[in-house]
Structures are given as structure tokens and as C-alpha cells.
Symmetry: D3
Subunit: 259 residues, 6 copies
């Protein structure tokens, strides 16, 4: 089975850069996957794609060395299994507020006897190889997103769930859940909670990731010890780039007397 490059990187203690896809297009996915990232995550929870498009986006990412990941629409078994069957090499599962949710995710990600994943990965065996079944339980990465007060309250129990490879912090929702505002880099109490989550996860040997809004934030999170960070989503990057370019082009505009 093809090795999970992202897992190798993270296991070696390296940090890794993740691309984040909200635009439902295999072409923009391929663009992002070619930009030097180590992994690319197709965001089915907040992104604008359906399953058919996610399939073509996973294929587009597979034209590169970037490891294809996906965030399922929700942390239910069926959503996880559908993405793994399509060749995702890891899932970043939203709103994991309890250990039970974490256990359902792990069960859906692992073939028996470790889990209850149903067998039949039509694209998994294309991308992964004919021996996919034998190694998938080891290669596939399972991240749980910690992003609520409940998740924090249940943190130790969640982190103890066998089969989880890492955590991914959702700072926006985490902040909202604790009564804070929107923003990926909250301060004060929530910043401390984020550090606590990271530390506890790291102490258990889990990989630690966190959603970032831009590259500078990535740098700061890496400084804090996070191993897996993502630049802003393709939608955000495009919007910002396009607004900046339009504004800049317009600033040279001088109305009705061109000469």
C-alpha cells in the first residue's frame, strides 16, 4: 500500500502544511495541491462541494505528492467511510464533543477487528494499491477536531480513545463555544485552553493540528508546537487576492480623463 507521506512526516517530528479546499472544483484543488503543501483537506463540512465533486478533488490531489485528507460533513460513520472509500488518506472529523463520537469515528475508519469499517474501497485500492485492506488501518490518519466546551470538558476521555492519531483544534468554534467572538487566534482564557489541548494531546503522543486563517498564523502556531497547520482556505485566499488586486488596479484609476 502507498505510504501515508503525511503520517511519515508527522511521525518524524516534522511540521506539515495543509491546504484547505472549499471551492467545489477539481481544477482549483489541483492548483492548491501543486503549491508545495504536504497535505490537502477537502472540507465537506463547510466547503461548497458534494460527494461527486469531492471524488474528483481527491483525484486531483492524487496527481501530486500531497496527502489527500477530508473533513467529513459530520462525524458519523457513514460520512467517514464514504470519504475513505474514495481514497482519502485521512479524516479530520468535526465537532468531536465526546469520547463516544471519537469511538464511532475510529470504528468507521478501521477494518475489523479494530473497527467496523465496511469493506469495499473502489478508489482506495486504486490510490492505495491492491494490498489496501492489509494496511489501511495503519496508514489512514484519524484526526478529531476539538472545538467546543463539551469537547474540552471531555478532553481526557476523548484523547484516550484508542485509534486516534491526532487532534485538530477549531479555534473559531471553540471561541464561540466559550462565549468569545469569531476569530482563529483568540487570546486570554481561550488561548490558554488551546495550549492545554495541544499539550495534553502531545503528551499522549498524538499529532497536533490547528486551523489557521493565514500563513503568519501558521508560523505562530508552529512556534507554539503545533505540527499540522493550514493556510487559509482556497476560497479565502482567492477572495483576498482578488480584492487586493482589484483595489490596487483601481487605485491607478483616474476617472474620465485618460489623457
Amino acid at each position: 500500500m502507498r505510504k501515508n507521506r503525511l503520517k511519515e512526516l508527522l511521525s518524524a517530528g516534522e511540521t506539515a502544511i495543509n491546504g484547505w479546499l472549499s471551492v467545489p472544483s477539481s481544477f482549483s484543488a489541483e492548483i492548491v495541491a501543486h503549491c508545495g503543501v504536504d497535505a490537502v483537506t477537502i472540507d465537506m463540512q463547510h466547503g461548497m462541494m458534494g460527494y461527486a465533486q469531492a471524488l474528483t478533488m481527491l483525484q486531483a490531489v492524487s496527481t501530486t505528492d500531497a496527502t489527500p485528507l477530508a473533513r467529513p460533513r459530520s462525524s458519523s460513520a457513514v460520512e467517514v467511510m464514504r470519504l475513505l472509500d474514495a481514497g482519502a488518506y485521512g479524516v479530520i472529523c468535526p465537532q468531536v464533543d465526546t469520547a463516544d463520537i471519537a469511538r464511532e469515528i475510529v470504528a468507521a475508519s478501521k477494518y475489523p477487528p479494530r473497527g467496523t469499517r465496511s469493506f469495499g474501497p473502489p478508489r482506495g485500492i486504486l490510490y492505495g494499491g491492491a494490498d489496501y485492506y492489509a494496511h489501511a488501518n495503519e496508514e489512514i490518519l484519524v484526526f478529531v477536531i476539538i472545538e467546543s466546551r463539551s469537547a474540552v470538558e471531555n478532553l481526557d476521555e476523548i484523547l484516550a480513545v484508542d485509534g486516534i492519531d491526532g487532534i485538530y483544534i477549531g479555534p473559531n468554534d471553540l471561541s464561540l463555544s466559550f462565549g468569545g467572538g469569531v476569530g482563529c487566534e483568540p487570546d486570554g482564557e481561550i488561548a490558554e485552553i488551546i495550549e492545554t489541548i495541544r499539550r495534553k494531546a502531545a503528551q499522549r503522543g498524538l499529532f497536533t493540528g490547528i486551523y489557521c486563517a493565514d500563513a503568519q498564523m501558521c508560523q505562530r502556531r508552529i512556534q507554539q508546537g503545533f505540527q499540522l497547520v493550514n493556510t487559509g482556505s482556497d476560497a479565502a485566499l482567492l477572495r483576498q487576492a482578488c480584492e487586493a488586486a482589484t483595489n490596487l488596479a483601481r487605485s491607478g484609476r483616474y476617472g474620465s480623463n485618460p489623457a
Copy 2:
């Protein structure tokens, strides 16, 4: 019929900023259309979309005040008519090397007696209004792209074709055609040719547009007197933004000893 805002702007002597779409997605199209541009061009010649996607992209642009334009796959009557029927309020037609090609474009863009456009604009009447037929010949913008040695040789004859609203210069292909290299801002002889084209078109009262690779180039072209310029394509903007963000995020990377 809904007025053509871009035509109003250009007729008032204003410069206008154009967005350029290569990514086959109505969502990225909507992002670009919201970024403050005056028009958005769906590029069927070099962009990665088919007709079905172009339709949804025209709809996405129509959620904003930006004027929806399209570059047809080629400057044949059928390609022009298909896009106008779908609600494009203007066409920017590639490789107009002769006056005959320009005449075919105009004929395809105008209902009789001015042209031979076939009647039946299913989405034209939704976007334009029930009186589309009565005003379409006036509202629809026709741009011809001047981008080859042949076009330059036939320039006066092309510019004299009745029904053309403006020219759009394709500097890349123009440069290649004259033996130069790739690049949107050639210098030397080709720069002079570009200025000649612009001046001749302006003297005839035609709107003058030119393909630009980025916002700084837009500013310089506006300084030179061009009225219609475009920031880089969505694909280029996304690629550059993503590469820059990834590189920046990585520069904070410090290998295998996170602390």
C-alpha cells in the same frame, strides 16, 4: 432591458476593472464577482470550463452588479451565440486576425437586420428582461482581440467593421506572433505596436482593453490610456496566493525538534 453597466462606464470615459475566470466553478466565479470588479469574463478559450459550467458561472456573476462577459472558445458564430443566449452581456472574441472574422462576430451578435443572430435567448430574457430582443443589439458589447501579426496587418480594416464596440489586446500571443517571448508586457517593437493599436482604436471611438497579468500592470496600462483591464485570472491569483502562503508558513518551520 437591463442596462449594460460596463458599457455605461466605458461610454462615460471611465476605466473599468475586469475579473477573469479560468476555474470551472460557479462558487469561485461568485467570489471574483464580489471583489469589486466592474465586469467578469468567463474564458472559454483557455479556461477549464465547458458550456454547462459557463452557464452556472454567468448566473453566479449575475448575483452582483458586475457585468457578465465571456470569451468564446473561438470567434465563430455558434460560439458567440451560445454565450449570448446564456446571458453574457458581451463577448471578447479571440484571434480576430481579419475583418471577415470580425464581421462574423458582429453578425452573430446582432439580430437582423444588423446581423444574423438567431432568436431564442432563454437566459438572456431572464437576465436582460422581457424586452431583450428590442435592445440587445445596443446593449451587448462586442470586443475583438488583436493578438497576431495578421491582425496588426489588417488592423485598419478590422477596426472599420461596423458593430465592434472595442478591442482587447492579447499581449502574450501578440508577442509570440512577432517572434517575441511569453509575457503580458513586452517592450520594444511590440510595445510600440500595442500603443499603435490602442491609439488607432481610440481614435475610432472604440473602447480599448488589454489583458493584464496583475494589478500593477493594470495600473500601467490605465496610465497608457486603456479603459478596460483585468487582474490576473482566478487560477493565477489562487496559485500565487497559495504558493506565497505555503512558503511563508513553511519559513517558520524548524524541523524535527518542536521544543
Copy 3:
């Protein structure tokens, strides 16, 4: 944030006409949205579209002043959130048989602290505006469909759920649930139940909507005091119009002796 025009209409005591979409096409969606309706509902429960098509249909509706609504596939949090993120300005949620279901819907529709909606509305901020987060809890409309004996039994408790803006009655399923037949305008006991539901909802200050099969039914329902009604679905309207036209055309048919 863009104001919710439908909410304004209903709050002003106006009645509103809703279009209903079952055909998976952004073009037919745009046709319906242009027909003078105040809102358009994309029916993910019984309609023939998947998520990717719902996105383009929401965009198509957004080219008009009609307020874009959606009926999720089911009244689960993930289905509600997926549609709101795509720019729906309201959800009409099926099979709300208990107050718990209603609470899950409200939670999924409201950002903390009022609910637990996860943050990240890529198209919501395009359609709604950059300040989407600040106002979404107020602007987004939440309708619960009352359409079963259970729902009627739990009616008071359901109507008391804080955050619901209105009810929508599903007369077909309601009738079936009470042992009646198919039909949008049942009489007898079920007609009385419908009136009871409407009255109780109105007394609580909730908006009252009901599914209608055609325009005459809309009129009668408005007479009964319903504020939000829908003409038949696009599929039904097309089928009826096409059958009628074909039959009429054929009645002039006179067989094998055309002259």
C-alpha cells in the same frame, strides 16, 4: 448583512408567495425565481437535487430579490448547517415530530450562545455580506414542518421552542398520518387539525405557512389566514403545463389525410 426580505414581509403581516423547486437545475430555478415569487424553496427532501446542484440553485435564486430558502433532506443539524453555509436565508425543516427535533434545528441554525452552529459560511458571506456572523441569528428564518400525528400531539411543546420563526404544514403527510388519503387539502377532522395548528402558531406570533398544490389552493389558504403559501412545485407545474399543451395540440390532430 443583507436583510431577509421574506422576514420583513411576514413581519409586516404581508402574505408571501413561495416557489418550490424539485428539478435539479440552476436554470429552471432562475426561471421560477423570476416569476414574481417572494421566496423560493429548494426541496432537498423530495426534490431530485444533490448538494452541488442546490448550491447552483441558490446562486440562481440570488440573481433576483426572491429570498432563497431550502428544505433540508432531514431535520438533522448537519443538513441544516450545510444549506445555511451555502447561503440559504431560511430552512423549512421536515418531519418535526418532537420538540427535541425542533431544538436540534434551532441549535444548528444559530451561532453560540443561542445555538451551536459551526462557523464558516463560505457563500453565506458572499450573499449576506461580510457582517454575516453578527446578524445571521436574526436574519435566518427557521420553519418547522408539522406533518404527523406525533407532531400534533407534541404541538404545544414544539411551538414553544425558542428560536422557531414559523411553522409550515405538510398536509399530505399529515393526512396520511391520521389515516386519510393523499391530497393537499384534506377535509373533515384533518382540516380542523390544520386550522388548530395554524391558530396556535399564530397566537404565539409564529409565521404560518402551508404546502399548496396550486394557485387556487394558495388563495383559499390565504383566506384561512396563512401567510406563506407556495404554488405547485416546478416539476408539477411543468408536467401539468406540458400535458395540457400536448393534449390541446393533439385535439387538432386529424390523422392521415392532411390535405
Copy 4:
């Protein structure tokens, strides 16, 4: 090979009702095909579909007994062949202004030695049967649309092209071409021209069809001797039905100020 039911009907001197598809959806196509029509035409010239959607629409029509036809984007060989390969049992070819165009259409529609159609009909053999090649030249219907002054001037020569099965008149474009206005039922000189075209075609034993805007027009055209007529397009039928329903529903509106 499956017999061409429409050809059988027309050959028996029957009139036939045609459905007309502009909406790019296999579901609306299936609705129209179920409404009692004898044939259904997918309009690639003015309709909003691309090739991929046309394929699914041909499949949708094939779930019924209605004969699947298509109007190609233009009367070029490639457009004709692409649709026949996808299982269309006839083409209605636009803007056939000269006998040369008619000959190109016939050549593209017939396998050698009668024509030059390239062999390889992947869906033709599914819909038509394994012996498709042996009978396709006989079963496939070729209609040429007469819709311009040029076509009228070249009428005798066009009608004399061997291999044409029938004509279809495009009254809108025909009227525009002769300096008239838009409308499917022009009077005066153009009405006479239409009758002349019909008569000449019928005298040569060709099937005679004409585009109609509604069912009443179909009846009048059948009275005039036309054999193949179509009710309005799906888009027009849906728009009219939806507008009528919305207006009717609203007329019962009494909101806050009923008077």
C-alpha cells in the same frame, strides 16, 4: 435496430407532437417525455445544456416511447455526429441556408457509401440495438431548418438534396430575416413564404415541421398541413405556468392592506 417510431408515424401520414427542451436537466426531460408527446427535441442551439447533459437527457427520453431528437448547436458535421452517437434518432439542423450545408448534414448522418459518418456509436448501439450500423442510415431522421431569406432563395436546391427526410421551419428567424419582427406566427408575406415552403417540401414527399410557441399554434399549423409541431419549450411552459400560478395566488392576497 429499434424502429424510429416518429418516422413510422410521419410516414403513415400522421401528425406528431414534439416536446422541446431548453432546460439542462435529465429530470425535466423525463417529465416532458412522459407528457404524451411523440418525440422530444433536445435543443443544443438555443437550449442551456452542454454535451454531457444532452447525453443524460437523451437517456431520460429513452425511458419512454417518445423518439429522441436533437437540434445540434450548428449544422456542422461534428455536431451532428456527436448527437447521433449519443443515441439521437434524428437531428433538426439549424440555419440551413444552402444546399451545401444540407449536403454536409446528410453526409454526417449517413454511413458510407451514402455519407461519411464516422463509425463508433457507443450509445447508439445501446438504444438502437446491436445491428445499428446496418439500419441507421434508414432509421435516423434528418430535418433541415428553413429560417432565412437565403434558405428561401435556395429552397429548391436544398429540398433536392438526397437524404433529407423533412424540413422544419423556424418562423422567428425567418421573419427577422425578411425584415419582420419576432413571433412564431407572422402574417402577410412571411405567412405566404411559410406556406410556399411547406407546399414545396410536401410535394417532394418531405415531412413538414414548424416551430410553434404554444398548443393553439400547433393546432393551426396542423390545419395548414404541417405534420410535426412542437408545444412551447420546457422553459417557456414552466415560466408561463409559474407566472400564472404566482399571479393567481397573489390575487387572493390581502396582507396588511387588502383593499
Copy 5:
């Protein structure tokens, strides 16, 4: 309502061959449906299609006499109802481990009073007929997949659920669940369990189906008494055929000395 041909076959004691679709394409679906099978199953659980594609695939199957079936993504009410509304004439529901799951499936498949299926089958009435509602409860086939140790433990209770028409055994997952390996034809204890399931189901008058990997396996399963078997999935058949053809073509390869 159109009769369910598969149900008729099975009720007559005939065996039936099922096609199995994993490739998200209406064209490959039509190919499979034309190959002589009695039914075709669109596999939403492990197949690579989303809902929009499933719709066009159901249409493609409906161009033939093969009965259209679907395996829902999961055995939840919403997944079952979505497929039936789209015209599936039967569902083969995965991972039915308890009688409660079986009851939810039956409830979702039957209109009241037998179940709680919500009314509004837009394509059901096209494929089935205008009297769909009156007969759907009888015509629609409900299969439950037995594929886990839990299901075996709960077998009697599951088989006793009123409204189930048949079982379908998933030998791969069943084997994994009992600690065996991957493979559709396990031996030993699991083979005995499979025979026990079949026998118990048959004794209750249920139809008995089982997933097969190839035609030889179909034959053996029919010999064992199974009534409904499937050849390998389209994806598997294509992969095997393509590999075999490529290898065979290559075996004639003789490198760089063609002479």
C-alpha cells in the same frame, strides 16, 4: 403502477441476476443494464456516486426492463426515502445489525399506515405511474443486508420484522466481523453461518440474495439456493477486463526490434 419485474421473478421462484454499479456514470449504468441482467443496483454505500449521479443512473437503468435498485449510503430513513423518491424499485440496505434498524427501513419504505414514508415521489410517479401511491407499498422491494456478528445474533428478530421482502448477505463484512479475512466466499464456520442465514430467511418466505464477486460464484450461490446474485461490480469487471486485455496485448510485445 408499473409492476416490479424482479419481485415477479423472485415470487415465481426464479433466480435473478443483478448488476452492481460503483462507477458514477449514467452511460456505464446503461451499458450494465443492457447486458441481460434482471436488476441493477446503484451502490451508494461503497460506490463513487453522489445523489445527482444516482438519479441519472436510475434513469439510465429505466431505459431497459431491468428493475432499478439501490443500496443506500446507510440504513437511515432519509437515505432510503431519497432513493425511492428517485424511482428505485427496491433498496438493499447495509449493516442491518438489529431489528430496530430493519424497522426503520421498513417504516421509511412504506406509506402510512404501514410506515411513515413521507409523500412526494417526483420521479417515482414518472417511472411507476400516476397511481404510484396506491401500490408502492406492495411493489417496492426491501432487502436487508446481513453482514455482521450482531446481525447474526439478532437474526431471528430481524427476519421477523414485518415488511422485509428479502435478505442480502454481505460475505466480505460478515467474514471480517467473525474474525475472518476479506473474500466473498469464505469457508468453514462462516460458510455455515451463511447457509444458516439463507435457510432461515427462506423458511420465512423471504427472498435470499448474496453479494458475489464473479459469475462462477453466482453459479455456486444459485446452486446453494440463493435466488438473487450479482456479478462483480462494474468497477471490478472493467478493471479485470482492462488488466487482462493490457497484459495480453503486451505479451505480444517484443521490445525495440520490430523487424
Copy 6:
């Protein structure tokens, strides 16, 4: 720029196996590309895909080492350029009956000064690399299909067109054109013509390919000296495999006479 592996193989005198795609699906494309072939051709002429699907199919092929090729809808400049921009590394152009057609193909395939290809390959630079422009003229393969009496008559002139890399013989159409029947392996005069074409092309140093219907035919063609052959199309392989499997499964039918 990524090297053209197929060109390297052929230049080294190796034979190469080509896969052939008619099914409009990126998933089936990926299956074929993984089957050991050296190249995969997306057939836009007779295949059932539109441009949008061709894009995702090119991406799917690009997940493997197989070289992505395409047969354009027709041998016009726009069709060739659209496919190269999408990342095809070669075109196999249909119905090249004259040297003029061959010259148009070459012109469309080569940037100035060798040709007139328009610059702007959005996916070409992703698949090929940032230096695409500098090397594309060398790397891109141009095949012309010889498949008519005209082409044979003009053979020497066609083969002499500078810039052609190889020929591909279309035996079906060639046979039809000479009055023969359908079949990929005609005998008699046409077999001699095929050998003449191959020999003349080889003498000029051109690569020689030919369409084959199955693997045995590939072997025989390789024996005859052809370097590039293709197994049957995905559609044909699937159809044959499915028919064979269904028939085989059925031959065991009525088996154990279930009663």
C-alpha cells in the same frame, strides 16, 4: 517540463499499449489508467463526454504514469488547443483527409514560430511544469488519423507535413470509405492499404498506431510492426465483461430448482 513518457517509449522503438475512454467518468478513467497501459486516450469524437468531464478524466489519468492523450471532437484548431490547455500530452486527430487539415492541427499544437497555438495553458503548467512553454512544442505528440480514401490518396502529402509525430489508422472508417464493411481488421485490399500506410509512415520515421478492438488484435498489429495499439474502449470492455458474466451466471440458473 515533465517528459512525455509515451514519446520516450516510442522513440526508443518500444511498442506501447493505449487505453481508450468512451465512458464519461473520471473514476472509470482512473481504473483504466491503473491497468498497466502506457497511455490513455480520451475520445472526444465518439466518446460520451463533454469538455468538463474530459478535464476530470485527464486529471484522473495524471494520477498514474500513463501518458494522457485525447482525440479531439474534430481536427479543428480550437478542439486541439482546448485539450492541450487541459493537460493532454498528445492528440490523435480524426479524419485527417488532407495535408491542409494536418497543417491546421500542427499549427494549433505548436507555439510560434512553429505554429499558432494561443498561449495560456492553465492545467498544462500544472501537469507539465512551470517551463511548459519552453518545451511543449517538443513534448506534445501529434498523431493524425488516416481513415478515408481521401486520406490515402493524399497520404504522401499528409505524411510530409512537418510537425506530425505519428499516424493512427482508423480501420473501421477506412474500410467503410473503401466500400468495405464495419470491422477493425479488414482483409484483402484494405489490409494491403493499411500495410502501405504503416510502411510509408514508418519510412518517414513517424510513429505508427492503429485502433484495435481487442487484445488479440493488438498482438497481430504489433507483429505487423505497429508501435502504438489500444485495447478496446472502456465501454466495449465493460459491455463484453458484463455480458459474459451475466450469461455465465445465468447458465447456472434454475440450478437447484428452489422448490
